[in-house]
């Protein structure tokens, strides 16, 4: 798969017990459930549940988790910074030259909750996508009546973000080959700004051409994309989800279900 953003399966069609449409819908519902949790323990239980289900369905965890790990900075940002901005109960305070730096318990809790939500959602969606090919994903979204313009933008994004990163890298190398040496911070930022600006400009032009080439091959209005359909097994997926929702509504600890 190399430089593609998401962990889609290679090849034509995958052999899954559930249809791609159901996997997308179920992950979305699961994502909503996860995002609504306000307790660390319930969030952790749901993440464990995702990991268990993923392992049982032979998710390629190495690929999924290595991609999820790229969001590490975003997660740490919330966990490490929020304690200093929000709360009443003092966790600890540090003396710094300009005064006291105080970390609060509530801020830390909120940071952990947000961090866990982000990690859980990313892992959930990446794991779900790792069970289908790009074609099946498009088919699923088409079945769900996602407009072609949205699908087109998504496809172009999936193709062009990695290309965009690669091009920026190549331009940086070309600069260095022509004698550019990394100077001070301001100079570096200026150079990077120029590179990012010009690559965005090029990527925009290119994405228009790609979209044109997609419409020429029948993408969008007027022609049919075969949807991914549904399978009989899909009912099991939704029974499981309903059970999970019932358990959460009755405030039963999820850990009980897992053990």
């Amino acid at each position: 798969m190399g430089k593609f953003l998401l962990p889609f399966q290679e090849g034509r069609y995958t052999i899954n017990a559930f249809s791609p449409t159901s996997i997308v819908v179920a992950s979305f519902i699961m994502g909503v459930i996860l995002a609504l949790q306000t307790q660390i323990v319930s969030l952790l239980s749901l993440i464990v549940l995702i990991l268990v289900i993923g392992t049982a369905s032979r998710t390629r965890w190495r690929t999924v988790l290595s991609l999820a790990a790229k969001f590490e900075i975003v997660i740490l940002f919330w966990i490490l910074l929020l304690p200093f901005f929000y709360g009443n109960i003092i966790l600890y305070s540090i003396s710094v030259p300009w005064g006291q730096l105080i970390a609060y318990q509530e801020g830390l809790n909120l940071g952990i909750i947000i961090g866990l939500r982000i990690f859980g959602l990313i892992t959930l969606f990446l794991a779900a996508l790792s069970h289908m090919s790009l074609s099946e994903f498009i088919g699923a979204l088409k079945t769900l009546r996602v407009p072609s313009s949205v699908l087109g933008s998504l496809l172009i994004m999936l193709r062009y973000i990695p290309l965009f990163i690669e091009e920026r890298h190549q331009m940086q190398e070309a600069q260095q080959l022509r004698g550019y040496e990394r100077g001070n911070r301001v100079e570096r930022i200026r150079s990077l700004g120029f590179l990012v600006g010009s690559t965005i400009d090029r990527a925009m032009d290119r994405s228009i051409i790609v979209y044109e080439s997609m419409t020429l091959r029948g993408f969008g209005r007027g022609m049919l994309v075969v949807g991914s359909g549904v399978k009989r097994n899909d009912i099991l997926l939704f029974i499981g989800l309903t059970l999970l929702i019932l358990i959460l509504l009755n405030s039963l600890p999820l850990v009980v279900l897992l053990t």
Binding site: R206, V210, S213, T215, G218, F219, M223, L224
Partner: protein, 250 residues
């Protein structure tokens, strides 16, 4: 002779550039070269034919259907357009998925999609690349896969924008053979080129664009004898000479 494409008093304007009063035909089964210097309007002409651009005045008919908003989807089923840069066309993770994109959009059943993809990859000699990621191919391979993606939709007309640009001799030779075989199946071909070799050895007729105006549309033999026309096609260059040697032409 039946017209596959009929361009009638076509006008187009975009910023500094304009196409003025272009009249041109591509007959059924014909192989026509569209030549001209950079910026003469060749790619714009293609985009107008395929309906990516709208003319200011005049009309284009494809198999007697006028190119307009209402008919564009039907016309695009009949006309395949190969972009000059294959990177502009390939977007799916693997070769198979990219080639299958068009047939799927046509609403073909999965087994028919399989058949079309296998056939088109076989035609361009890329059957072994079926699971290869599209970003791990050479320019020539990518170009052949891009062509496979077009012919998988079984078009009746091919518009090829610089099909040989950036290819080495063996790859050019392969592309020539592929397109020749498609033509033998009755597909009409309109292609742009800067090289006189592809004009002399390959085209049934030639149209010459200069600064947005069509200055010639007719036989290749006559065009080759007119220095003013040949100025627009580039010189008899090293590439042409070596290609003739490579393909064993006199």
């Amino acid at each position: 002779m039946t017209c596959a494409i009929e361009v009638d008093h076509l006008y187009f304007r975009y910023k500094e550039f304009s196409l003025e009063d272009v009249n041109m035909n591509l007959h059924l089964g014909e192989q026509k070269a569209l030549v001209g210097l950079n910026g003469s309007g060749k790619t714009t002409m293609f985009k107008l034919i395929i309906g990516l651009l709208e003319p200011v005045a005049g009309s284009i008919h494809v198999f007697e259907r006028k190119v307009e908003r209402e008919s564009i989807w039907e016309i695009r089923k009949d006309v395949g357009f190969l972009f000059q840069n294959p990177d502009d066309q390939l977007f799916a993770p693997t070769v198979w998925e990219d080639v299958a994109f068009g047939p799927k959009n046509l609403g073909l059943p999965p087994e028919e999609v399989e058949r079309q993809v296998d056939w088109s990859l076989d035609v361009v000699g890329m059957s072994d690349f079926v699971n290869r990621p599209v970003n791990q191919m050479s320019h020539g391979e990518a170009k052949r896969v891009a062509l496979a993606g077009i012919i998988a939709m079984r078009p009746k007309i091919l518009l090829l924008d610089e099909p040989f640009a950036g290819l080495d001799f063996p790859m050019i030779s392969t592309m020539v053979d592929i397109i020749q075989n498609l033509r033998n199946e009755g597909i009409s071909v309109l292609y742009t080129t800067h090289n006189r070799f592809f004009l002399e050895n390959w085209a049934d007729s030639v149209a010459v664009l200069h600064d947005g105006k069509l200055i010639y549309d007719g036989s290749v033999d006559h065009a080759l004898q007119d220095p003013a026309i040949m100025q627009q096609t580039g010189n008899w260059n090293e590439l042409g000479r070596r290609m003739r040697e490579y393909r064993g032409l006199a």
